[in-house]
Every structure is written in structure tokens, then in C-alpha cells.
Symmetry: C2
Subunit: 404 residues, 2 copies
């Protein structure tokens, strides 16, 4: 009897282990919500209450699109295959209605407040709140004569900013992607915690990070829906560029203790924000000396062209590689290995063109991540420690290795 | 022919006016969303894409719960009767699934990121961004030995805070309601714009406003879902009270240029936040001298009791009305005329008891508003100008009338 009892106990243990499977509520859930859940193999469980629905699907924007199964209790459930680490936007489609999951916090992406689930990356602590000094995240409202409106921006101030009142700081202008807004780098990207941790680790200079809204309409322009077309995007980059250079930078330099010169001003952005970064910085190299494109850049090469012609592209700024290396201290181009082919090809073309022309730059490939926030968090972790460690006229010094 | 043409033109104009009806996209819509729409009579139109659904309802939490009608294009539409002015939380129920409207920004309320539509109040400019100097809204992370965690709070700093570096400021601690969080007073309440406008109008002293998360678990306590029961709420108020007094106030006083004494420290809150305010301040009158309950207070009277017994209630603080008037400079109790009867009765009981006992207080009834944000925006507008204009030992001076 004892052996049978032991066998039953063992079987029960195995069954219990299979049921429990290490699934824990995601950190992106609203307080008290059990689902979504994530397990040790990076599988995600979504559970939706839709008792009278006939069809419910979950749509991961860079992941699986899967039918959910109705359970006896009226809830719908799905378990995904293992997913890449990081924050994954998703929506739920209930009888044709694409909506957010009530159990998830909202994140502004895809031009709406969407759901997202955080799949932890084993061993990665650099983008979460650690036991180190924390900076502040400020919301500011600045007036722009370019748009004729007040505009909202976020400003990260590093630890010690309020007490070290004689210290002035360099500034990184950091932009979101299409369908996102000025909250993206904080809410999705955790840029504030990334900077807190890099600064605490000693690999990164204390700096301000300014995050603006890249959607801008010139005063007097008629109101239109957010832009999708490339040509219209480039036109909007020009408007935003004027807002940034004529309104926001003067506001920041007047209201924060900045080092207001090009050696201490950087710009980077993800996707559309990277395209805007290249467009704006190469038109204003008097203002910026650090440039970063995270899964985005403007690559001025015609579809048939294999390479970029640096004699003419980017206002000819890179026609003379030696002069460029003195003028722009870091040119950073990043891409995830699992991004859509079209995006990967574009960035690879730029990288290969820069290599062939012997133009100094940093090329970073994020392994195993897609056109998603984990790629961009890693980009920031690679980019920020390289900032503000060189001066105009000097050689590009070896940047300190970024903290892991 | 000309007269017929004129008649047709006039008829067309009337029909066009009826179709157009002055419906405009709400300010709470995500960029580019046409719906929800609001007209000049405060009617709200909601439109949801749910082509395969059989039943779609819209649920206004303090308003109508109405079936939507399916249109030929697969969209569902509803037009409400005229609604009270202000921000109205709502959800959409699609075949039994209660979800947010993808066209609306999200606001954390009801323990989830919910939708809300802003119905303008004609002539009211006090809670929107005007052409006046703007303060900043800061996010801070402070460590709490009470909860054993880092906690997130919002801090409004008034215009001039960063430049007038010799000036110190009084502080208002301002709390959210049940199912909300530390973002509520900014995202829903627009407390920052209310203060910007009151300060610009000269009726209000520049002050810091600190908004914390009233949900707190003592370090070592087991994790539980957000609290609903009154007794459990009171227990949590004690934990939050310890976090506020032992962790947050010292953090604020160390990191901001505050006037760190009871004459320059106020606390107020809405609903559960008002109950927490009364519980915490009356247990810490050494720390606070201004108390505000917005649609919420703790009213220590047994159900059968008609009146509060001030000899014992509130630690006997109000047993001697004259002494109390010197000690607490403003006791403010507010309620909306259209709130649920139970809530109204509770606050009226407190007010009548205070009157009978000749205890000085401010009683404010917001006309025509319910247990909703318009009531609390108005409460803040009435309360803030009364703050920090008296000193300990002096008489309660006539507060300047609040700006309209």
C-alpha cells in the first residue's frame, strides 16, 4: 500500500508541476490581475472574459496571431509558444472588435492605448528599477511658435540634479517611433531606469534625456490624421525638426542647467524617430555631435542603388571621412536580427556603405529580437555610455564598454 | 425657380445642421480618432467597430448604460442624452466582454485602464492649459521601509520653482480614490493646470502638490488584490499613513525646497482618498494643519447615530472648537449634489454635526455633478486658494475668494 501511495504522490506531484508550470503574473498587469501570465520558458498565457463571444483572437504585433479557446467558465484562454524577451504589444479581437486587454496596463503604440506583456530576459537587470539612486522624470509644457501650440515633453533628470546646483549637464534628445508618443521611452522603454543603472555603474555620464512628440503640424496647416506615408513622414520630420531646434532646445537650455553646445548635445530615435534623427541632425550639425538610429535611419539611396553616395547624401557631411570623424563623435546604427527583412536590408545597406567609405560608426546587431522595445532598450544601453566623452577636434576616444 | 432654389438651399442648410449637430471629437480621444464626439448640448456619441458582435453596450460608470445600435457599415453607434459636464469613465461591453474603447485615451480607474470622455463645461477654463506659466509634473521613486519597496509618486512643482532657488514652498498632499492611482489627479483631474491657473490669477499661493499611491502593503504582509471592504480599507489607510509620514514626507522634505512644518503642510483626497486624509491627518495633527475631504471623509458615527460625538471622535481633536480652530486652519468637506444618496448622507451628517458643535469648517456642494472628476476638480479649485494663508495661534483669516 505504501508503494502505491508513493506512486500516487509522485504522479500527483508531476501533474501539479504541469498545471503550475511556473506561470507568474506579468509585471505589466494592472494591480491584482492574475493574467497575462509568463512562465520560465517565456510562454505567455492570455485570459479574456467574453462569455457571449463566438470568436476571440489575440494579436501580438510582432508575434503570433492565435485563436483563443473558450473554457467552460466563459473565459477564453491561449498559451503562446516561447517568445523573445522584452515588451510585446498586443490587442485582442473579440468578434471583429480589436480592443485592449482589461488586465494589462495601456501603452501608447500603434496610434492607440494598446496592451503589452513583459517577458523577462533572464539575468537582465539594466532596464528595471534597481537599488540605486533614481533620477526624476518630468513633464514639461513648452510653447512652440512653429506649431502655434503648447507641446508636452518628458525630461529625465539624473540623480543629484536637484542638489548639485552648480553642475551643468549634457543632453540626449531621444525620439519614439510611428504610432507612439513622448511617453514611449519611459513607459515602454524604461529609459529612466536604464540611465539610473548605467550612471550608478559608472559607465555613463550623468545627462538629461529629453523625449518629445515627433508628430507636429505647422501653425496654420490643416488638421490631418497621424501620418503613414514616407513622403508625408519626411515632411513632418521637417516640421518637427523646426519645433525641436527653434522651440524645444531653447526651452530646455533656458529651463535646465544644460551644457548648451554641440559637443554636449546628442540625438537618437527608434524607427520613425531614427529617420527623424538622421534628417534633423544632418541638417543641424551645428547643434548635434552624436547621432543614433535605432532600427531607423534615413538612407538616401535609390531602390536600384546598392550603396549610398556620400559625396551628396546627408548634405555631403560624410564626403570626407576624416573630417566627419572629428565633427560627429559617434554615429550609431542599430538593428535587431529578427526584424522584418525590408528594415534589416535598409540598415545593412547603410552599414555596408559606411564600411566601404571608411566612415567611422558603431554598428550594433541585437541578437534574437525584432522591431520591438527590447531591441531599442539594448540600443540605448549601447549608445548612452558612448556619449559626451570626446571633444570637438579630438580623436574619437575608445568608449568605455557598456555595462551588462 | 429662384424661390424654389432658395427654399431647397434653406432646407439643405437645416438638414446639414441636423446631421452635423455640432458634434466634435472629444479632447480625450487618441490622435486622429473621430469618435467619441460631443455636441453643444453635451450629448456624447460613441462608435465602435465590432462587425461580428451580436450585442454591444456602452457602460458609463456614473451615467447611462445603453445598448448600441449596429449600423450598415459594421460599426456600432450610440448617442446619449445630455450629460453633466466633466470627465466620464466608461467601458464598452462586446458580447459580454467589458473592454476599453480603442479610440479613447486610457485613464487608470476602477482598477484598470478604462476609457473616459471629456464633456466640456461652457465657460470653464480653470482645468485646461491656458496661456499662463506652467509648472512641471515630476515622477519620483522613493524608498519606503514601511512597504519595503520603492514607490512611485507624482510631484507638481509650480512655475518658477527651478529658477527661484532661494524660495521654499508649502506642500499639499493630494490623494486619489479607490481603483485609481497616483496618476489620477494629473491625468483625470488636471491638478497641474488647475494650480497653474489659480497661481497665475493670484488667488493661490505657489505650492508643491504631492500625489502618492494610497494602496500600500506593509513589508512582510502577504500579497492580496486591491481592497474593497471598509474595514480592510481602514487597515490599509494605516499602512499608507505610515508610508506617507515615515517615508514620503521625509523624502519630499529632503529632495524639494519645502517649508517643512505643520503650518505649511496640507492633505486632501477624493472618496477613499478623503477617508484616508481624515484618518491620517487626525492621527498626525503635529504634521498637518489643513484637511480636505472631497466626496470622502471618515465619519465616526454608528449607523443609528444621528450625529458625530466630537468628545471622542477624531482623537478628541474637535472636543474644544476654539482650540481646534487655532490648530487646524481649514477643515474642508465637499460633495456633489448628484452623488449617490448613501455618500451624500454620510457627508451631510458630518456637516450637520460640525454645525451643531460650532466647529469651523468649509462645506462645499458642487451643483449638478456626481461622484466624478468634475466634483473633485471644483473641490480643488475651492480648497487650494484657502491654503497657507494663516499661521499657528492666529485667527482663521478670511480666505481670498477662489477664482472662477
Amino acid at each position: 500500500m505504501r508503494q502505491i501511495g508513493l506512486a500516487i504522490f509522485l504522479l500527483a506531484g508531476i501533474c501539479a508541476a504541469q498545471d503550475n508550470s511556473g506561470f507568474l503574473p506579468a509585471t505589466t498587469n494592472v494591480p491584482g490581475a492574475e493574467y497575462p501570465r509568463v512562465d520560465g520558458n517565456s510562454r505567455v498565457q492570455i485570459r479574456i472574459k467574453a462569455p457571449d463571444a463566438t470568436k476571440v483572437k489575440v494579436n501580438f504585433w510582432s508575434g503570433p496571431k492565435v485563436d483563443m479557446e473558450k473554457q467552460p467558465d466563459g473565459f477564453w484562454l491561449v498559451t503562446t509558444p516561447p517568445m523573445a524577451p522584452g515588451l510585446h504589444y498586443y490587442t485582442v479581437i473579440i468578434d471583429g472588435a480589436e480592443v485592449s486587454d482589461p488586465s494589462s496596463y495601456s501603452f501608447y503604440g500603434g496610434s492607440k492605448d494598446a496592451s503589452a506583456v513583459e517577458v523577462p530576459e533572464p539575468g537582465a537587470t539594466y532596464y528595471s528599477a534597481q537599488d540605486v539612486p533614481h533620477g526624476q522624470v518630468r513633464e514639461v509644457w513648452y510653447h512652440s511658435d512653429v506649431t502655434g501650440t503648447y507641446r508636452h515633453a518628458m525630461v529625465y533628470t539624473p540623480p543629484g540634479y536637484d542638489t548639485q546646483t552648480r553642475t551643468r549637464y549634457p543632453v540626449l534628445y531621444l525620439q519614439h517611433g510611428a504610432g507612439e508618443d513622448e511617453t514611449g521611452w519611459i513607459r515602454q522603454g524604461h529609459a529612466n531606469f536604464i540611465l539610473d543603472n548605467l550612471i550608478a555603474g559608472g559607465s555613463c555620464k550623468p545627462m538629461l534625456v529629453v523625449m518629445a512628440n515627433g508628430y507636429a503640424k505647422r501653425a496654420g496647416q490643416s488638421a490631418t490624421a497621424p501620418v503613414q506615408q514616407m513622403a508625408a513622414m519626411q515632411q513632418m520630420a521637417a516640421v518637427f525638426g523646426d519645433d525641436l531646434t527653434q522651440a524645444l532646445i531653447p526651452y530646455i537650455d533656458s529651463n535646465f542647467r544644460t551644457m548648451a553646445d554641440r559637443d554636449h548635445r546628442a540625438m537618437a530615435g527608434l524607427s520613425m524617430g531614427g529617420m527623424q534623427t538622421f534628417t534633423i541632425t544632418f541638417n543641424h550639425l551645428d547643434l548635434f555631435s552624436y547621432i543614433g538610429g535605432f532600427s531607423g535611419a534615413s538612407v538616401p539611396a535609390a531602390p536600384g542603388q546598392d550603396k549610398v553616395d556620400f559625396k551628396t547624401a546627408y548634405n555631403g557631411a560624410m564626403a570626407d571621412p576624416a573630417a566627419f570623424a572629428k565633427r560627429v563623435h559617434v554615429l550609431f546604427v542599430g538593428i535587431g536580427t529578427d526584424e522584418p527583412a525590408r528594415m534589416h536590408e535598409n540598415i545593412e545597406k547603410l552599414h555596408k556603405s559606411l564600411l566601404d567609405a571608411e566612415i567611422e560608426h558603431v554598428y550594433y546587431e541585437s541578437p534574437g529580437t525584432a522591431h520591438e522595445w527590447q531591441t531599442w532598450r539594448r540600443d540605448l544601453k549601447e549608445f548612452a555610455p558612448r556619449l559626451f566623452k570626446t571633444t570637438s577636434g579630438g580623436k574619437l576616444t575608445q568608449a568605455a564598454p557598456s555595462a551588462n
